[in-house]
Amino acid sequence: MKPNPSNNKLFKVSRRDFVKIGALGSTGLILGVPLGCKQDKNAFLTGREDAVFAPNVYITILGTGEVQLIAHRSEMGTGIRTSLPLVMADEMEADWTKVKIIQAVGDVKYGDQNTDGSYSVRMFYQPLRIAGATVKLMLMQAAAQEWQVDISECSAVNHEIVHSSGKSLGYGYLAEKAGALPIPEENEITLKDSKDFKFISKETVIYDLEDIVTGKAVYGLDVQIPDLKVAVIKRNPEAGAGIKSFNSDMATAIEGVTKVYKMESTAFPMGYNAPLGGIVVVANNTWTAIKARDAVEVVWDKGINASYDSNAFMQQMQRSVQKEGQVKRQQGSATKALKEAAKVIESDFLVPHLAHSPMETPCAVARYNADGTCEIWAPVQSPQWVRQAVAEALGIEESEVTINVTLLGSAFGRKSKPDFVVEAALISKEMNTPIKLLWTREDDIQHDFYHSNCAQHIKVGIDKNNKVTSWVHRTAFPSISGTASADATGPSSDELCMGVLDMPFEIDNISCEALDAKAQIRIGWLRSVHNINHAFAIGSIVDQVAQAREMDPVDNMMDLLGSDRKIDFTALMEGFNNYNVKLEDYPYDTHRLKQVIQLVKEKSGWGKSLPKGKGMGFAAHRSFLTYVACVVEVEVDDNNNIKIPMVHFAIDCGVPVNPDRIRAQFEGGAAFGASLALKSEINVKNGAVMEDNFNNYLVARITDAPINTVVHFVENEEKPTGVGEPPVPPFIPALCNAIFMATGKRITRLPIRL
C-alpha cells in the first residue's frame, strides 16, 4: 500500500524539523565497530554506543540498538502511549523489547499534541506508519551499501536487516550509517500489507503495566523535585467572584506554613486559562497546607452568577424547548406533517450538570527559575496549550517554558484546560520556590468545567400507514464557549453536530432546533460531550417510536435509517462539522451503522424471552466518526435496585490498532455511562456547587457497573477512528430502554430515579 503524500499535511510540517545526527561529538567519519554480542558470525547487532540516528522527531535509534519512540500524546488510560509507538515499531520491524518509549514535552515540532476528541489514532496512524517505514527503508539502504548489494536483496526482520544470503546487520550497527543517508521522499516509501502486521491489530500490553501495579508509575501528584513546597487554594464558591476580605492569622500560626496570600480572581467568563483566584496557602507539606486553608477566614464577594440555580435553570430550559427554536436543519415541513400524523410521540429529556472527577485531581509541579524560565511537570492533555498559557501568564516566551507530561490519573477532558497549571506557575513565581499545587477532591468537584446541563424536546409523527413522517428535535444547553465569551448565548453549530444535526434517519420532514441558554458557571467538554445528552434523547424516543409502531426496536431503527447511503449533511445545512474532518474523508455511512446494529443483534441474543424484572435495551450512535451499537441487559429487583449483568457492543472503528485497549475503552465507557445514567448529578444553588466529594457526587462502583461487557468488531480495512468517547453515548439509552422493558418505566431524566 502506497501512502498518499498529499493527504499528509501533518507529516510534512514535522518533516521541516527533521534532524539528522551522526555520531554525537564525532569529528569525522568513524566506521562503526560492533560492540555487542553477535547472533552468528555474520551478524553485527550494535554499533558505536554514542551513535544516534534520528531521522524524524518521533524515532531515534542508538548505536546500542535501543529504539526510542516518542509518545507525543498524553496517557490518561486509553493506552495511546503504547498504541501509537507500536504503529511505528510495526512498520520499522523493531523488536518491541528493545523499544523505549519517551514521553514528549510540549512542543509544536511534534505536530498536534492535544489528546482530546478521540482523534490520536485517527490523526497519527498514517503519519507514524510512514515515519516507521522511512526508518526501515534507510536501514535497508545502509545495509545494502555496506554489503554492496542491491536493496531488493535486503529485508527487515525483527530489529535486523537480513540479506538473501542469510547474513544480517542489527539496527544498532546500522544506526550511524543510516544517519549519513539522505531522507527518502515519501513516494519512495512502501507501507506494510495488513496481513504482515506484527503489532497492529494484535494484542500488546500497555508499556507502563508493571510500573502501575507496583506503584512505581509517576503521575502528576507523584513528582518530587528538591525544595518543593505544597500549595492549596481556597476559592470563592461562585466561579469568577472575588474576595472582600480575609484573615490568615490562624493559618499562619500553624507550624510549617510559609505564606498565605491573595491571588486575584478573573471575572466570569474567564476562559480556560485564567486561575479562579482565591487565597493561596503555601506550606512545607500537603497536610499542613490543607489544615491551614481550613483556618483561613474569608468574606467572599459576589459576582454576576451569584443567583445561578441549576434547578430553576433546568425548568427554564425545559419551558423553552416547548416552543420552536432557531431552526438549524430543515427538510420538508415538520409542522405540517405533524398536523397530518396519525400518531405523535413526544417527550422531554433532561440531563444535569456533571463533573469530570478524574481519579487524580488536577495538580501540577512548577519551578520558576532565577533566570526567568519555568519548568512544569503535570498531568495535562494539551501540553502545547499549557505552554502557551503559562508563558502568557508569566510574561515570558514559550521557548522559556518546558512542559513535562506525566502520566494522567484519568482526565475525561478536565486536564485539557490549563488553569490549574497556570495557578502553580504563578505561585512558584510569587514564592520564588518550586511548588506542587494540589486540588483537593472538594476543589475538583466544586470548581470544575461542568458538562452542559440540557433540556430537549423531541416530537415524532407517524402516519396512518405506520410510517415515520416527521422529526422535530429541540435542544437547549449552555455552550462551552460561554466559559470564554459573554456573547455565546446558546448552542453553537459545532456543538449541535454532536447528535442533533447529524441525525441519520431517512425521514421526509425534519426540523432540528436550538434554544438559547447562557453559561453561568464554567462549562467544559466531558468525555463524549453533547453526544451524552443527544444520544440519550434520540435513543430513548426511538424506542418509544418502536413501541408505538408495534415494531421490534432493532427493526424500527433499521427502518428509520432507510437506504444505504453516505449522508451529505453539508448539502442539508450551513456549517456542518464532521468532527473537524471532511465528510468525503470520513463519511456518515448508514450502511456501516446498520452493520454494527446487525452484528449486535446477532451476538447479543436480542429478542430472547426474559423473566419479569429483566430487560434488554438497544441503541446505536455514531460519534467521533466511530459507529457503535449497544445492547444492555438489566435486572431490576423489587426495591428498584438495578444490576447490569451484560453489555454487548458492536463497533466499527476501522482497523483496530490495539484491540485489547479498544475493548478496555468500551468496558470502561459502559462503566462511565453507568455513572452518568445511575449516579452522577451536579446541583448549583446561589452560584455554588452543592456536591463536594464522592460521598455526594456519586459515581459507579463495582456494585453498579456492568458485570460483563463484550465487544464485537466489524472487520474491515477502513481508516482507524477513535474509541475513547464513542462507547458512552449509546450505552445510556440502551440501559434506559432495558429498564423500560424490565419495569415499564420510561426514563426521561438523568440520573435515573425509579
Partner: protein, 157 residues
C-alpha cells in the same frame, strides 16, 4: 486546632522509620510527602474512594483518614511492600488480566484485593463486590478487577 510536631516511629514494609509531623497527619501524607512512598494515592481525603488503601496488620485501611498518632507499632504495608520476592500473585493476576487503564486507583484496588484474598481464598461475586465496593475506578476497570481476583484465587494466593 494547632498541634505541635511530634516524633513517630513507624513500621512500614518491615522497616522501622522515624518521622516528625503533626500527630493528626494522615498516614497517606506522611507516606507520600515525607517517606517518598508515592504508590499510595490521594483520591478523596474522606475514606470513600479507596485510592489510599494500605494494610495495617494485614487489614485494608484508608490511609487518608488514619492519623499517624493512632498507628503505634502496628505493621503498615504499602503497594511498594507487597511483593517481597518480585511480584505478589495478585499483582501478577492484575498483569495477566491487563486490568489498569490510567492506573491511578490500582494500588488501592490491589491492596483491597490482597486483604480480601488473605481472609477468603475463594471469594464469591458477592464477597468481591463487598470487599471492593470501597474502591472507585473512574476508568471503569471493574470487570477485569473481578476477573483478576478470581484468577488470583484460582492460583491459591
Amino acid at each position: 486546632m494547632i498541634l505541635p510536631m511530634e516524633k513517630f516511629t513507624l513500621n512500614i514494609n518491615d522497616q522501622k522509620v522515624s518521622i516528625e509531623c503533626a500527630p493528626d497527619t494522615p498516614l497517606l501524607w506522611a507516606l507520600r510527602d515525607q517517606l517518598g512512598l508515592t504508590g499510595t494515592k490521594y483520591g478523596c481525603g474522606i475514606a470513600v474512594c479507596g485510592s489510599c488503601t494500605v494494610h495495617l496488620d494485614g487489614t485494608a485501611v484508608r490511609s487518608c483518614s488514619l492519623p499517624i498518632s493512632a498507628i503505634n507499632d502496628k505493621a503498615i504495608t504499602t503497594i511498594e511492600g507487597v511483593g517481597k520476592d518480585g511480584l505478589h500473585p495478585v499483582q501478577k493476576a492484575w498483569i495477566a488480566e491487563n486490568v489498569p487503564q490510567c492506573g491511578f486507583c490500582q494500588s488501592g484496588q490491589i491492596m483491597s484485593a490482597i486483604a480480601l484474598l488473605e481472609q477468603n481464598g475463594n471469594p464469591s461475586d458477592a464477597d468481591i463486590e463487598q470487599a471492593m465496593s470501597g474502591n472507585i475506578c473512574r476508568c471503569g476497570t471493574y470487570i477485569r478487577i473481578r476477573s483478576a481476583i478470581k484468577n488470583a484465587a484460582k492460583n491459591n494466593v
